[in-house]
């Protein structure tokens, strides 16, 4: 790349190691003045680690950062702020109990003889904010205003204090469409003022809306930096997911699909997922595809009653059922293996045996304990059937490997003999061998006549076992692929589709 302009911030060869993993490996990032630079990558790609290295929250293990040609080495977020690198986080990191002006000026209030001049502070806060298109009373507490306004105040604070580089870490995650536009107009103004802006988001259309350049990270490495005017959303998605996307011909067993088991009609939850409808048959695997934040987990949680829906209904074999909590779902013989195995799945200090029996015992009620012999029989049979490798059933489950933990969780739900099994990222963070076994198990369960809903970011995996794939984008169901349509290429196209449309009309 031969750019005439010198980058404001140039990070080279940034490396960061955590015990057992390489979080960042030789990462390079150039930020130019007056440019919005999107930082993209799936979860765990290293985006936030990179940001933390830049802002001094983490100490990097290798590499250099130059700011305006000077090498810098910030030791804390406060230090990087002084150097000129300001950060705004997804969760507004301001103080709701203080006034807008106090938030804006905390730590640098105008003082005279040690006494803060409130009048001066409020006046200059008002002046500053009007520069951002906000006409609000700075003497009101911050909590009186919407998240979008709080976000703009946070940006104003970061810019006023730093003024060279502004890092926006998922600032739009909890904003609605109009609020995003408010934020974007502020970003455009700052761009015009010559700031270098880093923009992190999971919303691809927003990336193409506001950014000039994008750097894509995967597994701690930069897989590419692109000028966005030269590429299509599909190129970017391909870079992010980074798989061999030539359509491999899958040997698909189109086993006979059974009777309709579950009908979901316009189930929705405001702010989480738009109304969606879905029909599931016995002996069918429906895949849920979409980028992170597209609503996969939300869909699973809504069906299982982890989150209460505020609209729509669910029918089981034609009968209306109400699911207000996971207990209701379990009573209807639903099961859910959550995405976050460590915090939502396993009970780390309990034995493998207790973990396997947990859901079954919970359904029975605590007054009717399952006899010890029966427990052992169930646990042992699943350990054998799923080939869970362990030294003893008594060992705490947290000592097992990720793959074996996942299999034990599957055993927990299979023990309840479910009719409908929801798996949220069943293969995340497990080794290749266990990966293949879990996929084989999904096939097996399907052939046995169970209905499965599997959310996954592994496209090839989805292609391998799904009889249908539902694609989600921006918390909305955007398309459904069946039969031969199910190829990684088609899924990527469906995920990227609307972003492409936005660019064409822009």
């Amino acid at each position: 790349m031969t750019d005439d302009i010198r980058p404001v911030l140039h990070a080279q060869g940034i490396s960061k190691f955590f015990p057992g993993t390489i979080a960042l490996d030789d990462v390079e990032l150039r930020l130019y003045p007056g440019e919005v630079h999107a930082l993209l990558g799936e979860n765990g790609a290293g985006k936030s680690t990179l940001i933390k290295c830049l802002t001094g929250a983490y100490q990097r293990d290798g590499g250099t950062i130059t700011l305006d040609g000077q090498e810098v080495n910030p030791q804390s977020t406060a230090a990087s702020q002084k150097l000129g690198i300001g950060t705004v986080y997804q969760e507004v990191n301001l103080l709701p109990n203080l006034t807008v002006a106090e938030n804006l000026f905390l730590g640098r209030q105008p003082v005279r003889y040690g006494i803060v001049s409130r009048r001066k502070m409020n006046a200059s806060a008002r002046a500053t904010l009007s520069g951002y298109g906000l006409d609000i009373d700075p003497a009101e507490p911050l909590s009186a205003y919407s998240v979008a306004i709080q976000q703009v105040v946070a940006i104003a604070r970061a810019v006023e204090m730093s003024g060279k580089v502004l890092i926006l870490d998922e600032p739009t995650a909890s904003l609605d469409r109009d609020e995003v536009q408010l934020l974007f107009s502020v970003i455009r103004q700052l761009k015009a003022r010559g700031l270098a802006i880093v923009f992190i988001t999971h919303f691809l259309d927003q990336v193409f809306d506001i950014s000039d350049r994008a750097t894509v990270l995967r597994n701690g490495r930069v897989v590419g930096t692109r000028l966005l005017q030269d590429v299509t959303p599909k190129d970017v998605v391909t870079l992010m997911l980074g798989r061999q996307l030539e359509a491999r011909v899958q040997e698909r067993k189109t086993g006979a699909v059974g009777k309709t088991l579950i009908e979901i009609q316009n189930l929705s939850k405001r702010g989480m997922i738009e109304p969606f409808s879905l029909e599931l048959h016995e002996g069918e695997v429906v895949g849920l595809a979409g980028l992170l934040g597209s609503g996969r987990t939300e869909t699973a949680n809504l069906i299982f009653g982890v989150v209460q829906a505020d609209g729509g209904k669910i029918k089981l074999r034609g009968q209306d059922i109400t699911i207000n909590r996971p207990r209701d779902a379990v009573a209807h013989r639903f099961a859910l293996c959550p995405e976050d195995r460590k915090t939502e799945g396993i009970v780390g200090d309990l034995s493998v045996r207790d973990n396997i029996i947990l859901a079954l015992q919970a359904r029975q009620g605590w007054m009717r304990p399952i006899p010890r012999a029966k427990i052992n029989e169930i646990a042992e049979s699943y350990v054998r059937a799923l080939d869970i490798r362990l030294a003893s059933l008594d060992m705490p489950i947290r000592l097992l490997s990720g793959g074996n933990q996942q299999k034990a969780l599957l055993a927990r739900w299979l023990a309840t003999n479910p009719e409908f099994l929801i798996l949220d990222e069943p293969t995340r963070g497990i080794d290749v061998g266990a990966h293949a076994e879990i996929i084989a198990l999904i096939e097996q369960l399907r052939e046995d006549g169970m209905a499965l809903l599997v959310a996954s970011s592994e496209l090839e995996e989805l292609v391998a076992y799904s009889t249908r794939v539902v694609v989600l984008r921006d918390r909305r169901q955007v398309s459904e692929l069946t039969g031969d349509q199910i190829t990684p290429d088609n899924i990527v196209r469906a995920i990227a589709d609307e972003a492409a449309a936005t660019v064409e009309t822009a």
């Binding site: 702020q81 990191n93 905390l106 730590g107 040690g114 298109g133 006409d135 003497a139 909590s143 502020v186």
Partner: protein
């Protein structure tokens, strides 16, 4: 301009005015400068300690040690004035240094060891009380003539009320406390800490110095309160002021400060103290009621104020304004 954040303060003030009016209606003689003067004198030590407690609670913490520190201060002064020929003013300075350092040390433990303030100050409470016992287990009278001088300092109002020195010290402490809390960077940092430690850290608030400063202020003011208490009783007794920390917490909460930190006013605590004192005075005037009624009324008031705070929090959340004035040019 009245803002929603001022509402608890206004309610406290209204409660005080209403209570005073009721008292005046029942016993017209309560509407005298004498009663007001006594209200200030009798509650001086509690008020001073409550200013420190306000800072602690505003920051989201708690200080259980102050009752013990007050007792320790009293015993320390009594013993040192009996055993040595040191001037009381020197003794005052000495004890203020000790109590401030004691508070600061607790703050340092809380910050650097990331220990809950409850535990650390509970330890401080036992430590200070134990130190008082070590000095003397009996009530030690203070007979220094300088004490008589200080105790005889008062301004007599035309209608007969005697505004004594210690009441003045309390009022002065409140005035300084108000300025520090609301008009200095340190005060803003205290509120920031109470609003959210994580956010405060990211915004560059110096957590260590602020936390240590807060508990040092609380310790130092407990020392000052102990000095005032020794002037009030002319003695030092290691069994005195048991549970005063709880009275102080009650005054702070009745004064409209949120126990979880971040919201409240030092001035509110002043009226909290006055309300509590007023209840006591009323019962004295009544003569037939047992003094335990004070505790019952204060308990009821506390409940009412906690409910009120919760209600206000809900109300603010429900009324979160959306984009009010976005004139964003795009």
């Amino acid at each position: 301009m009245i803002r929603s954040t001022h509402l608890p303060l206004i309610i406290t003030l209204a409660t005080f005015v209403l209570a005073f009016a009721l008292c005046g209606y029942a016993y017209p003689s309560m509407l005298s400068t004498r009663v007001v003067a006594n209200l200030l004198t009798d509650n001086a030590f509690l008020g001073i300690a409550a200013v420190g407690m306000t800072f602690v609670i505003l920051s989201g913490g708690i200080d259980l040690s102050i009752g013990s520190v007050i007792a320790f201060t009293g015993v320390f002064l009594a013993v040192i004035l009996r055993e040595t020929s040191i001037h009381p003013l020197m003794a005052f300075a000495l004890v203020l240094v000790i109590t401030t350092a004691f508070g600061g040390a607790m703050g340092a433990l809380i910050h650097y060891l990331e220990m809950p303030p409850f535990i650390v100050t509970l330890a401080g409470m036992f430590l200070a009380r134990g130190a008082a016992y070590v000095l003397s287990t009996e009530s030690v009278p203070i007979t220094h003539e300088f004490y008589d001088v200080l105790q005889d300092l008062y301004w007599k109002a035309p209608s007969g009320g005697r505004f004594r020195l210690i009441g003045g010290v309390m009022v002065l402490t409140f005035l300084v406390g108000i300025i520090v809390a609301h008009r200095t960077r340190f005060g803003q940092n205290v509120y920031a800490l109470g609003g959210g430690q994580q956010a405060a850290r990211l915004m560059g608030v110096p957590l260590a110095s602020t936390t240590i400063g807060i508990y040092a202020i609380s310790g130092g003011l407990a020392g000052l309160s102990g000095i005032v208490f020794s002037l009030y009783t002319s003695a030092g007794y290691s069994l005195a002021t048991v549970g005063v920390e709880l009275d102080a917490i009650a005054a702070v909460v009745i004064g409209g400060t949120l126990l979880t930190g971040g919201y409240g006013f030092v001035a509110g605590t002043f009226f909290g103290i006055l309300i509590m004192g007023l209840i006591q005075t009323y019962i004295v005037f009544d003569g037939t009621l047992s003094s335990w009624w004070t505790k019952i009324v204060i308990g009821g008031l506390l409940f009412a104020f906690i409910l009120l705070q919760k209600g206000l929090t809900w109300a603010t959340q429900a009324r979160q304004r959306t984009v009010t004035g976005s004139a964003a040019p795009s």
